[in-house]
C-alpha cells in the first residue's frame, strides 16, 4: 500500500514528466479529446433536450391531462363533469386539402381549436396578434398556416384559400405551437377556429376526425386525485384514451434516444480507435524510455511504482481532456438552438452536472485502461541488467493471464455500461460484438498480408524491396493502419451503402412502382362520380379504389392488446389508436397468402381477418386466434384466417388488416383511391379538387421529395459523424508513422549511403501504402457490403444494390487524404543528413 508521501512523489513526478514530454503525448491527448468531445456533445444535447421536454411537458401535452375520444366527440355529460374539474380546451384534427384559390393545393394537417387554446404556453404567430384574432375576434373565416404551406402555395397574409369547399382567409403564419405536433415542424399544418369548424360543418364531411380535450385542472392540493377522478369518469368508454404530461413528447424522445444512441456508438468506436493509438503511443513511449525505466529499477523502484507513474500520467491527461471536452460539450446546447427548427420553439439551456461529467470520465477511463494495460505492463519486461550490457530490446504488448483477466473484466464493464444505458440494448450489444470481430478481422488481414508477402517476395525492383522490408518489419505500419483506418472506412462505407440504398429506393424504385396520386375521404356516394370524372380527363388512367373504415385493435384472444404488445415492438403501430381496415371478397394478387386459407364468400354474421404476416409474427398471432376490433364504438370479435405478405414499399393501397366483405358491408365506410396517369398530377389534382372539394388528392412526388429531403439531411449528418472515426484513425496512423520516424530516418540514411535516391524512396513509400491500403479496402468493402446488405434486406426490407461511383469516391478520397498525411508526417525522413550518423548522434 502506498503512503501519502509516495503518492505525492508519483503525482509530482508524473506532472514533471508530462510537462517535459508533452510533445510525445500529443496523440493521446488529441485522440482522447476528440472522442470525449463527441461523447460529451451527445450527452449534453440529449440531457438538455430531455430537461427541456421534462420542464415543458405540460406545454407539450397542452394541459394537465389529454383525453382523446377518436372520431366521436365526448358526450355532454362527461364534458359537464370534466368542466367542474378545470378549464377544457377542445381540438378537432383532420387531414384535408388546402388550396390557394384557383391555384394549387396541399394536403394539410388541419386543427380546429377553441377559444381556450392553448391552456399552457403560447402560440407564436406572424403577425403576433394573429392567434388572438383567430380565436376571439375573427370577422371572416380565417386560417393560420405554417411556413411550409406558405412557401408551397406562395401565400401571403389576407390571401384567400379553400378548405373542403369553404373559403378562408389567411390570418397569419404559425411560428410555433406549444403542444408540438411533428407535422407543425416537418409537414403542412394549419389552424382554424373551432366555432367556424362547427359553423361550416366541416367535420361532417370527413369521417376520420380526431377529438382531443385538454384540461387545465383547478388549483387544488392534490392533482393526483383529480387525475384519478378524470380517469374514472372516462374509463367506461373503451374508445377514450388519456395521456399525462409525462407521456408527452414521446416520439421526440424516441428520436432523441435513437440518434443519441447512434452518436454514442460512433463516439465509443472513435474512442476505441483512439485507444489503439494510445496503446501504440504508450508502447513506443515505454520503448523510448527503456533506459530511464531500467535506471529507475537499478535505483530500487519496483515495476509497479514505475507503471503507476505512467498510469497516473495517462489519468492526468484523461482528467484534463475530459474536463475540456465536457466544458465544450456543455456549451453545445447553445449551438444546437441555432440548428433546431424555430417552429419547435425549443430553447435549450446549458447545465453543468458532475454526474454527467463522471459518466464521460468513466467511459474514457475504461477505454484508457483497456488500451494502456498491455502497453504499460510491458515495463516489467525491461531489465536493469541491460544497463550493464547496453543491450536494450524493444518490448511488446504484455498479455499475461492476469492482464487478460483485467482486460476481459474492463471490456465487459464498458460494454455493459453502454448497453444498460440504451433503449436498444440488443442492437448495442450486436454493434459491440461486430466491432470487436471487425478489429480481429483487420488484425488478421494485416498478418495475412505480411505472410503472403513473405511467401511471394521475388521482385527485383529496389522500391518494392524497400516497401516489402517496411511492411514485413517488426515495427510495420500494416497492423495499425489496417485496424484503425479499416474500421473507420468500414463504418463509413456501411453507413453510406445503407443511406444510398434508401435514397435509391426513394428516388427511383418507389416512384417507378408507386401511383402518382392518392385520393382520400371519398364518400360512398362520390366514388362512381369521381371515377367517371377522372376517366373523362384521362381515359387511359389506372384507378384503384378500396373501401375503408376506422377501427382500433382492442384485444387478442380476450387479453387487452396493450398487455401483450410493448411500445418497442416493431409492429406496435398497428395496435396504437385508430387504424384503417379494408375488406375484400377475394385475395389480392399483390398480397401473397403465406399461411392459412382465404374465407368462403358470403358469410355475413362472422368476421374473418387477414393479417399482414410480419405484423402477425411480431404480435405473436396464430391462425384462428380471436381478434377484438372496435369498429365505430362497437367491439367485434373476428377469427384470424390467414397471413398475407404485404409490401408497403410501392405506396399503393395496402392494409395490415383486411376483413371479409360480406360482414363489412354493414359498416359505414368511405373509399381510398390511387391514380396512375400520363397526364400531369397537378392538372388532375386541381380539376378533382375543383369538382370534389371534400376529397383530398395527395401527390406522391411531394411526399417522396419530403422523405428524400429528410433522408438527405440524415445521410449528411450520419456521414459527417462517422468521418470522425476516420479522422481519429488517421491521427493514430500519423502518430504511428511519427513514432517510426527515427527508425525510418536511419534506414533511409543507410539507403542513401548505399546509393538509393529520393524518387526510389518515395516510390517505395507509395508502394507500401498502396499494398496496405488495397488489402484493407478489399476487406473493408467486403465487411461493409455484407453489413449493409444485412441491414437493407433484413431490417429495412428493401432490395440492396451496389453503387460503384460512390464506393470509388469514398475509397479514393480516403486514400488521397491518408497518403498525403503520411507524406507530411514523414517529411523529415526523405532526405536525412549523413553527418549525425557518422557522429553517432
Amino acid at each position: 500500500m502506498l503512503d501519502y508521501q509516495q503518492l505525492l512523489f508519483i503525482h509530482r513526478y508524473a506532472l514533471r514528466d508530462i510537462t517535459r514530454s508533452y510533445k510525445k503525448l500529443w496523440v493521446i491527448s488529441t485522440t482522447l479529446f476528440i472522442s470525449l468531445l463527441l461523447l460529451s456533445l451527445t450527452f449534453s444535447v440529449k440531457h438538455s433536450l430531455s430537461n427541456e421536454i421534462e420542464a415543458n411537458s405540460k406545454e407539450l401535452l397542452g394541459g394537465d391531462i389529454q383525453i382523446s375520444s377518436g372520431i366521436e366527440p365526448l358526450q355532454g355529460l362527461i364534458l359537464e363533469q370534466l368542466s367542474e374539474l378545470g378549464q377544457i380546451s377542445e381540438t378537432v384534427s383532420l387531414a384535408t386539402m388546402l388550396s390557394k384559390k384557383g391555384d394549387t393545393s396541399v394536403f394539410v394537417d388541419l386543427r380546429a381549436v377553441d377559444g381556450n387554446y392553448p391552456l399552457y404556453g403560447e402560440m407564436k404567430t406572424i403577425p403576433a396578434n394573429a392567434g388572438q384574432e383567430l380565436l376571439h375576434d375573427a370577422k371572416r373565416p380565417t386560417v393560420l398556416i405554417n411556413e411550409n404551406i406558405q412557401n408551397q402555395l406562395r401565400l401571403n397574409i389576407a390571401d384567400e384559400v379553400v378548405i373542403m369547399g369553404q373559403d378562408f382567409v389567411v390570418g397569419g403564419v404559425i411560428a410555433s405551437v406549444p403542444d408540438l405536433a411533428q407535422s407543425a415542424v416537418f409537414g403542412e399544418f394549419a389552424i382554424i377556429n373551432k366555432d367556424q369548424f362547427d359553423e361550416f360543418n366541416i367535420g361532417s364531411r370527413d369521417s376520420f376526425l380526431k377529438h382531443d380535450y385538454r384540461l387545465k385542472l383547478n388549483q387544488t392540493e392534490d392533482d393526483g386525485k383529480q387525475i384519478e377522478l378524470i380517469k374514472s369518469i372516462v374509463e367506461s368508454d373503451k374508445n377514450i384514451n388519456t395521456r399525462l404530461p409525462k407521456d408527452s413528447g414521446q416520439s421526440l424522445r424516441r428520436i432523441i434516444d435513437n440518434f443519441s444512441n447512434f452518436l454514442n456508438l460512433v463516439s465509443v468506436s472513435a474512442m476505441i480507435i483512439a485507444g489503439i493509438g494510445i496503446s501504440n503511443t504508450l508502447l513506443s513511449f515505454v520503448n523510448q524510455r527503456n533506459i530511464s525505466i531500467a535506471v529507475k529499477k537499478s535505483l530500487g523502484f519496483s515495476s509497479n511504482i514505475i507503471q503507476l507513474i505512467y498510469f497516473y500520467e495517462i489519468l492526468l491527461i484523461l482528467i484534463f481532456t475530459s474536463i475540456l471536452a465536457y466544458c465544450i460539450g456543455v456549451m453545445s446546447p447553445l449551438l444546437a438552438n441555432d440548428l433546431i427548427p424555430k417552429s419547435f420553439d425549443i430553447d435549450l439551456q446549458t447545465s453543468f452536472s458532475f454526474i454527467s461529467y463522471l459518466n464521460i470520465f468513466f467511459i474514457g477511463l475504461l477505454v484508457v485502461l483497456i488500451f494502456s494495460i498491455p502497453s504499460l505492463y510491458s515495463i516489467s519486461a525491461i531489465k536493469a541488467v541491460a544497463l550493464f550490457r547496453n543491450t536494450f530490446q524493444p518490448v511488446s504488448l504484455h498479455f499475461s493471464a492476469k492482464n487478460i483477466f483485467y482486460l476481459t473484466l474492463l471490456v465487459v464493464v464498458l460494454v455493459g455500461y453502454f448497453v444498460f444505458q440504451t433503449e436498444q440494448q440488443f442492437f448495442t450489444l450486436l454493434y459491440f460484438m461486430a466491432f470487436v470481430v471487425t478489429i480481429f478481422i483487420f488484425y488478421g488481414v494485416s498478418r495475412l498480408l505480411i505472410s503472403l508477402l513473405k511467401r511471394s517476395f521475388d521482385f527485383s525492383s529496389n522500391s518494392y524491396k524497400i516497401a516489402y522490408r517496411n511492411i514485413v518489419a517488426k515495427k510495420s505500419l500494416a497492423p495499425i493502419m489496417t485496424i484503425s483506418l479499416g474500421i473507420g472506412l468500414t463504418l463509413l462505407l456501411t453507413l453510406s451503402f445503407v443511406a444510398n440504398n434508401l435514397k435509391h429506393e426513394i428516388s427511383q424504385s418507389i416512384p417507378s412502382m408507386a401511383p402518382d396520386m392518392f385520393f382520400v375521404s371519398i364518400n360512398k356516394g362520390e366514388k362512381d362520380d369521381l371515377e367517371s370524372f377522372i376517366k373523362s380527363i384521362d381515359p387511359n388512367v389506372e384507378l384503384e379504389f378500396s373501401p375503408m373504415a376506422s377501427a382500433s385493435f382492442v384485444a387478442l384472444n380476450g387479453t387487452p392488446i396493450e398487455e401483450i404488445v410493448s411500445g418497442d415492438n416493431r409492429s406496435s403501430w398497428i395496435v396504437r389508436g385508430d387504424r384503417r381496415i379494408s375488406w375484400l371478397e377475394k385475395p389480392n394478387q399483390d398480397n401473397l397468402i403465406v399461411r392459412g386459407e382465404w374465407w368462403e364468400p358470403g358469410i355475413q354474421d362472422q368476421m374473418f381477418v387477414s393479417m399482414d404476416s410480419r405484423a402477425a409474427f411480431d404480435l405473436g398471432m396464430k391462425l384462428n386466434d380471436k381478434i377484438t376490433l372496435n369498429i365505430l364504438g362497437r367491439d367485434v370479435i373476428g377469427t384470424v384466417k390467414n397471413f398475407r405478405k404485404v409490401d408497403y414499399r410501392d405506396i399503393s393501397i395496402n392494409f395490415a388488416i383486411i376483413i371479409n366483405e360480406a360482414f363489412a358491408t354493414k359498416l359505414p365506410y368511405e373509399y381510398i383511391g390511387t391514380l396512375k396517369s400520363e397526364l400531369s398530377a397537378d392538372t388532375i389534382q386541381s380539376k378533382v379538387i375543383g369538382k370534389f372539394p371534400n376529397i383530398s388528392a395527395i401527390k406522391i412526388d411531394r411526399i417522396l421529395s419530403k422523405v428524400g429531403e429528410v433522408l438527405n439531411k440524415i445521410f449528411i449528418a450520419v456521414t459527417g459523424i462517422s468521418l470522425i472515426v476516420i479522422v481519429i484513425g488517421l491521427i493514430v496512423i500519423v502518430s504511428a508513422v511519427m513514432v517510426q520516424t527515427t527508425f525510418r530516418r536511419y534506414n533511409n540514411l543507410i539507403y542513401k549511403i548505399l546509393g538509393v535516391n529520393f524518387p526510389t524512396i518515395l516510390k517505395a513509400m507509395t508502394l507500401e501504402f498502396a499494398i496496405i491500403y488495397l488489402t484493407l479496402i478489399i476487406f473493408a468493402l467486403t465487411v461493409a457490403m455484407m453489413g449493409s446488405y444485412f441491414v437493407v434486406e433484413n431490417i429495412l426490407l428493401l432490395s440492396w444494390s451496389f453503387d460503384p461511383s460512390l464506393t470509388l469516391w469514398i475509397v479514393f478520397s480516403t486514400a488521397a487524404v491518408s497518403f498525403l498525411l503520411i507524406l507530411i508526417a514523414n517529411r523529415n525522413i526523405f532526405n536525412p543528413k549523413v553527418y549525425p550518423l557518422i557522429r553517432n548522434e
Binding site: 503512503d3 508521501q5 509516495q6 505525492l8 512523489f9 513526478y13 514533471r16 514528466d17 517535459r20 514530454s21 533506459i291 530511464s292 531500467a294 535506471v295 529507475k296 529499477k297 537499478s298 535505483l299 530500487g300 523502484f301 519496483s302 515495476s303 509497479n304 531489465k383 536493469a384 541488467v385 544497463l387 550493464f388 550490457r389 547496453n390
Partner: protein, 221 residues
C-alpha cells in the same frame, strides 16, 4: 568483520541445456564492510555478471549470495528492490542519467526511490561537494561527460549505501576525469567505511584497491 557481500559456489549460465553458456562457474568470495575490491579479467570473464548478481539484478543459476548476511537468491523481485535501494549504490560505465531530469532531480530520484522526500538541500550539498553546484538545474544533455559521471556517482552515493558497485566507471572518460572520479569514490568509501566493488580493465586503478579478484573463464584465477 562482517562480510558485506558473500558469494558461495555461485554459478551463472545462459541458454538452453544443449548449448549452455557458463558465465560464472562455482565462484566463492566475500567483500568486507569497508573493503575496496577490484574485479579484473579479460572481456567475457564474468566481471559485470558478478556486479549484476550482487545488485540482485540477475539471478544466480546455483549457489548462495548474501548481502550483509541476508540471502538474496530466491528472493522476490519487490524484496530485491528493497534490498537494493537500502544497501547498494550502482555506478555505470555509460552514466545513464535520465535525460529529462536535471542533475539535481537525477540525484533526488535516488532518495525518492528510498521514500526520502524533500531532501533537496542534501542533494545540493553533495553536488556542491562534487563541484557541480553551478550545474544543478542543467539537463544531462547540457553536461560534459565528466560532469554526467559525477552526477551519476552523486546519485549512487546520496542514499549513503553500504555497498557501491561500479562497472568500469571511468570507461567513457579521459584520464583527468577518470582520476577525479576514482578519487571521489575512494574518498567516500574510506570516509564512510563503505564497501566498494570496482570492475575495471585499468590495472593501475585495480592496484589502488585493497584487494584484486581476477577472473578467467568464469572462475576466480
Amino acid at each position: 568483520m562482517n562480510a558485506a557481500i558473500q558469494f558461495n559456489d555461485v554459478s551463472l549460465t545462459y541458454g538452453p541445456e544443449t548449448d549452455l553458456v557458463k558465465v560464472l562457474n562455482s565462484i566463492s568470495f566475500s567483500v568486507n564492510d569497508d573493503e575496496i575490491v577490484s574485479i579484473v579479467g579479460p572481456s567475457g570473464s564474468g566481471k559485470t555478471s558478478i556486479i549484476m548478481l550482487a545488485a540482485g539484478l540477475e539471478r544466480a543459476t546455483q549457489g548462495s549470495i548474501k548481502i550483509h548476511g541476508q540471502e538474496i537468491t530466491g528472493v522476490k523481485e519487490n524484496e530485491l528492490s528493497d534490498i537494493r535501494r537500502k544497501n547498494i549504490g550502482i555506478v555505470f560505465q555509460s552514466f545513464y542519467l535520465i535525460p529529462n531530469l536535471t542533475a539535481l532531480e537525477n540525484v533526488l530520484l535516488s532518495l525518492e526511490a528510498n521514500q526520502k522526500y524533500n531532501l533537496d538541500s542534501e542533494a545540493k550539498s553533495l553536488l556542491d561537494e562534487f563541484g557541480l553546484s553551478h550545474r544543478i538545474n542543467h539537463l544531462p544533455s547540457e553536461l560534459s561527460g565528466g560532469e554526467q559521471q559525477r552526477v551519476a556517482i552523486a546519485r549512487a552515493l546520496i542514499n549513503r549505501p553500504k555497498i557501491i558497485l561500479a562497472d568500469e566507471p571511468t570507461g567513457n572518460l579521459d584520464s583527468a576525469n577518470s582520476n577525479t572520479m576514482i578519487d571521489l569514490l575512494f574518498d567516500y568509501s574510506r570516509k564512510s567505511k563503505t564497501s566498494l566493488v570496482l570492475v575495471t580493465h585499468n590495472n593501475p586503478l585495480a592496484e589502488r584497491c585493497d584487494r584484486i579478484i581476477e577472473l578467467k573463464d568464469g572462475k576466480i584465477a
